[in-house]
Symmetry: C2
Subunit: 407 residues, 2 copies
């Protein structure tokens, strides 16, 4: 029997699976399970008929490129569509500043490859998205967290952390932020905070990796101007802006993009050649056609209403059953609520009893790189139907009340 450990690279030895994916495996296949775990878009609002019609046209055989290898940068018409989408968000990006990626996860991976040597420090929010943590960890970067206030990252803490790490001899090159309806905390970074963050990044000479999968999905207590990307004010070329069609069209296409200064995009292009040569040809065309035919534009307002209703449903149910037990900030868009349990409860400890009650969530701790957040849980309200949300919260309330009684 071969001992494979001797063949593994250091990062191969270090690799740990995603907590979210592990929960998925644990709870999969159990009948009547209600899952608040994955940040999945709701297929009930997928424009199936449009996609069926688009696919039928694309697969007529009249365009031989539809199922062929394509350019690493992405399907050219899709790149131009992205330019238009970005313009609506206040961002100017030429073709040389764009690359289509196989989901935003790949954009994170490419950024980590191109920017991080082993031991380099990457600054992240407390808490932050675990997929980004996975990508930076895979590059053997060291992750250091910065506190968040209600309006986003705390700039005094950011400055202190960067200076402390640099004094310790660390290379600190980039900061990863999710300003719009952050995963997992649901926070919306304030406009003034965005302006000052860019100033601070400039003063500290940091690159900003701005991840924006949820910006279009604001609810009626927010609006488009409040979600204006930091990249829109990026005169220096300091911001790498990531966004995606996964939450607004369909996640299964694996089509996202990165907008960044041309010299960096040239590197991402080379890194992507090594990673997967090119993203799916049919997928990119499906997305492009959905944009061109107005399916995306028509769908997004519906998505806002759809997910807003789910947020209201889950908050109402939480208030009804867990008032004074759970505390949370109301997300003004996106898919997530990060709820705090009483200090002495651990989200991880609730998972097995929750699965026994046929409800599941993600424990908050893996989102916090400093080991805090053990008493938090992330509830994604995007996927379950409203009646299932209510029933799921009822089950969760039973689990939490039992844990409180046992302590």
């Amino acid at each position: 029997m071969i001992n494979y450990d001797s063949f593994l690279s250091r990062r191969g030895l270090d690799m740990q699976g995603s907590a979210i994916r592990r929960i998925g495996a644990l709870s999969a296949g159990i009948p009547d399970m209600i899952s608040f775990a994955p940040g999945y878009p709701d297929p009930a609002v997928t424009p199936w008929a449009d996609f069926r019609e688009i696919a039928s046209g694309l697969l007529s055989g009249s365009d031989s490129e539809v199922l062929q290898y394509g350019p690493t940068r992405g399907h050219a018409p899709l790149l131009d569509a992205v330019t238009s989408i970005l313009a609506e968000r206040g961002i100017r990006a030429s073709r040389e500043e764009l690359l289509v990626t196989t989901g935003s996860q790949q954009a994170l991976d490419l950024a980590a490859r191109v920017l991080c040597d082993p031991g380099d420090v990457v600054i992240v929010e407390l808490p932050t998205y675990t997929g980004a943590l996975a990508a930076f960890r895979d590059a053997q970067a060291e992750l250091v967290g910065v506190r968040q206030d209600a309006d986003g990252i705390n700039l005094e803490d950011l400055e202190a952390v960067v200076k402390r790490e640099r004094r310790a001899g660390k290379r600190v090159g980039c900061l990863y932020v999710v300003p719009n309806f952050q995963n997992p905390a649901g926070l919306l970074m304030g406009l003034e905070k965005r302006r000052r963050l860019l100033e601070t990044a400039s003063r500290l000479d940091l690159l900003l990796v701005e991840d924006d999968p949820y910006g279009a999905l604001y609810f009626d207590d927010a609006d488009a101007p409040l979600t204006r990307p930091i990249k829109a004010a990026d005169d220096d070329g300091r911001v790498l802006y990531l966004s995606s069609f996964s939450k607004t069209l369909a996640a299964g296409f694996r089509v996202a993009w990165i907008a960044a200064p041309a010299p960096l995009v040239a590197k991402f292009d080379v890194a992507k050649q090594a990673a997967d040569l090119c993203s799916g040809a049919l997928d990119q065309r499906m997305v492009y056609e959905a944009w061109k035919r107005g399916v995306l534009a028509a769908g997004v307002p519906r998505l806002r209403a759809h997910y807003r209703h789910k947020r209201e449903t889950i908050e109402r149910a939480m208030r009804a059953t867990l008032d004074g037990v759970l505390s949370w900030r109301t997300p003004r868009g996106g898919f997530f609520i990060l709820a705090s349990l009483p200090e002495d409860l651990n989200g991880e400890d609730l998972l097995q009893p929750a699965i026994a009650e046929r409800v599941v969530f993600v424990a908050g701790a893996p989102f916090f790189v400093d080991g805090s957040g053990r008493n938090t849980i992330r509830l994604s309200f995007s996927l379950p139907a409203p009646d299932r949300i209510v029933e799921g919260v009822n089950r969760l309330a039973r689990v939490i009340r039992q844990a409180l009684e046992r302590r």
Copy 2:
């Protein structure tokens, strides 16, 4: 203006684009260009009507998972289909030994991440596939070449190289081989050579990365038993076997797989979570349905005849116009001929005059990690129609004859 170099990782600084992709960019958009450059499958033999029907069924909306995020390992029915395909090739693989990848390029990338530390030696054939070189280089591995004979890798040279590198203190963990109709040399590794290679790998304690995108595409001067994978005899669990649907169904789906010992696949799974979470959901189902409905099985014999005819066409044209000038080994399958020019001609030098004549190929040198092969060119005969192949060879002959006259 920001100097981005100071933000780049060492591998970011080192990154160089693919020679093949660069040629593609140089020659793209020139009217009447005949390209022998990319190893693209011919869309003329794509089963468009089948795919159209499959897509229409999948996108009915009845299965809400079709456009959703999916398991990192891959769509479960597709994994079972791969088990059947592998069984036909003499390979037994359970679900725990399989992972779907976003094209074989991703399998190479995952292998490089999981197995290679910076400075580790990876052994490759002379010449070998540049995509594999890109993946291993991205992991900052050092690539060391081993000579090939007509029946594949030279085992005496392999042993000498491994021992030399280890004496020099290098970690030498794996060997990358393409036994079936190798890209770029078109070689078919002999069965006895395969057996002895596995023995040698065992004795030297090497893992084998066996890349097999072309095995099903043998011509009438070969047959299935001659393409039997090395993995079929892998009792030790020493072989990582890569294969793909890109050359037999469609490259645009980006659906391929890796079969390897379960402990390594568990690591690839984690690495893939960081790389792109999961491969395309629709793409995997399109491929699965094409397999299930017999589209793949019915298509492959047609592909063999189709590409064999193209090989005959290009060889006949080459013999007619370049006899005694070019030399090459007849490929018994696959997409490629590696032709040698007279010793004092450089393939790279012919590219500009060739593009001026509206024909293009790939210079051979980038496929050779030892700096040799400067007088070789790779001609891919898979994509152009037969009459274009003949015309392309005529143009190439003019370019080469002019170069010979000028020297």
